[in-house]
Symmetry: C2
Subunit: 429 residues, 2 copies
Amino acid sequence: MHFLPNFVPLFIKPLRVEKVTASIITIGDELLIGQTIDTNSAWMAQQLNGMGIWVQRRVAVGDIKEAILEALDEESASADIILITGGLGPTADDITKPTLLEYFGGTMVQHEPTLQRLMQLFESRGLPILQRNIDQALVPDSCTVLMNHHGLAPGMWFEKGGKVFVSMPGVPHEMKGIMTDHVLPRLQEQFDTKAVLHQTLLTSGMGESFVAEKLLAFEAQLPEHIKLAYLPSYGLLKLRLTAHGEDKVSTAAELKLRFQEMEALLKDIAVYDEDISMGEVLGRYLKTKGKTVGTAESCTGGYIAHSITAVAGSSAYYNGSVVTYSNAMKTKLLGVKEATLATYGAVSEETVREMAAGALKVLNTDYAIAVSGIMGPDGGTPEKPVGTVWIAAGSADNIVTVKYRLMYDRERNIQMTAIYAMNELRKLI
Amino acid sequence: MHFLPNFVPLFIKPLRVEKVTASIITIGDELLIGQTIDTNSAWMAQQLNGMGIWVQRRVAVGDIKEAILEALDEESASADIILITGGLGPTADDITKPTLLEYFGGTMVQHEPTLQRLMQLFESRGLPILQRNIDQALVPDSCTVLMNHHGLAPGMWFEKGGKVFVSMPGVPHEMKGIMTDHVLPRLQEQFDTKAVLHQTLLTSGMGESFVAEKLLAFEAQLPEHIKLAYLPSYGLLKLRLTAHGEDKVSTAAELKLRFQEMEALLKDIAVYDEDISMGEVLGRYLKTKGKTVGTAESCTGGYIAHSITAVAGSSAYYNGSVVTYSNAMKTKLLGVKEATLATYGAVSEETVREMAAGALKVLNTDYAIAVSGIMGPDGGTPEKPVGTVWIAAGSADNIVTVKYRLMYDRERNIQMTAIYAMNELRKLI
């Protein structure tokens, strides 16, 4: 007879999960000279992860036949699935498709549905059809064609040596369309994946190493199949728990318990229990309470307004904003007193307080956020160096103010100010 | 005796340029699950390219010893320089540094200057110093330490088998600091690089395949050492010419001639002859003419204001903006007539025209941009489907309006509207 210990041993059977693995190959010189930032890979990895497929490597190569062939060989040596993007546009150097033909064999044929779609599209726009567009409908007959409903170049699904290879255009919305319409459902059918689940806690206000100290015991007793990752993001620290398991339901239940345990340890700095933007966090708080917000921005120049309105449905809680870069506009549009500006300056507690009060009135909202600061690289003084920023947030009867000294470049200073300002208001709601 | 042909043969000697090559390895699970978008690699590639070093591959691997070792072997088999980022934070899984120690040999030692900087930093902030922070000052004695003046984890420069390996933290501003302070100057010293020069023409208003037709003859007669690349970007098409050569001055002169030739062929759609943001393009036009601008934004929710103010020094030509999400705010802040809104709706030529006129008055600027549209995913009607957007741009005596029908997701629709709107004003200046 077995004795059970008197605590519930969530991790009594560390599960050896056999992983289905994928590699992502992106093709294009523009990635190697740094003209394009690769946002596709992150999206693809998220989708694959969500269905239990582990992305083990990502490789970017140029528009060079040998480099593409080498990458196909290397990645398929270890991964089960190889996803390829890029190199299929009408002006691409005509390297990717012939290379795929060489690698997988077959002959080049016209894909009729793509050709028809292409001709209809050009006709409906009254544009002449060019040979280079017609050529986009050419595919090796060794592939299964994945119809592109969002552009012209079709996706191509190959199988070789028990591995799956998918080639897609690099334009983000075309790639996403082909992934959603074809690739993800087909992978789901073909691979018996285990559960891989993530949950992320957003925190703000404590450095990475101090959070790590707080979580020392928690992390030490995590079972092998649950991993904690620290993901510093400007203005936020994200803590991600990842659980691997045989079964989705029980793995989710286990992950939930562990997550709650972690959340309780960090309740003072916890911002939200989902990996969403701060604009979306603030929006959810406002929606829940049925309240509205407006912003009065100087140094962030509209970035807080953008962060809030980037969220679909934000018109339900957002009326508008006033961006006042000059002192004259602060007075004219927000009613900041000229005396306040003269005495304390535009970057001061007094000014942001009056900006917030002005915004509440002018924009007719329940809450307001106001910021004024020096984002750099120029404009600093010994007294108020670059990076100095004042934030005010609150409602008619309670406005709080806070000062930061940021140390980054202009772009990051703007982003961090926006995140801190939105978080300041969130705390009050 | 030789006869010279009667045109100047710019490319009579196609230069065989021996390339110095680099590979970039990024380490971290967060890249493989798609939680982080890799912006570091693009920046690094730009810097290396600028000094004539060709990035041939970029590889992302997880926090796994074997994966890191394999990547080091593979990349150093062909590249001269291997730049590594990530895996060095205080909570990193302690895999990168021991793996580097194993790969390059030596023993782990304390780096005194880093330790002192670290202790000073923690003291000045009144924070206790933790063992995990102290450990950040540990480095293999087989490396040259590259002091990190922007964070805690130092950079490490290794040499092995005639190849250079540099390990840096993944936090963007720390990596950039170490690259600028140490890596780029050292590479410049150590490698005799040839000239690799780029120039990019921004265009707007014509599809990729039609531009390609226009450039058919131009592209066909380009010498082998000058390459043309098409880089579609939402709302813009970028055309990049890259020239390789032995000598920087003559290569630059040749590139310039070719670029001017291309620009002349595309003068109707040319936006700018440098790869900068549309906000910066607009800013340069305004600065040159000594004029000011303001924006009245509905659907873009502050993104145009942000695009303009993201540029350092924008306060010279930018007064402010009004973001009016609700009809009431359009009337209250911009003086849009209630009758106009009732008759034509918020998304109409008449409304954006009144918004622009209102902005000119309220913000007291020479020029104004106004937009109103439906960015999605909801809010469309049969008459005005999602993606419908009206733009107005101009001055008191000349406001032009234009309508677009965009087909992307909310985020891209916002970005494209901003780019189209700023370009509309640019055409008028």
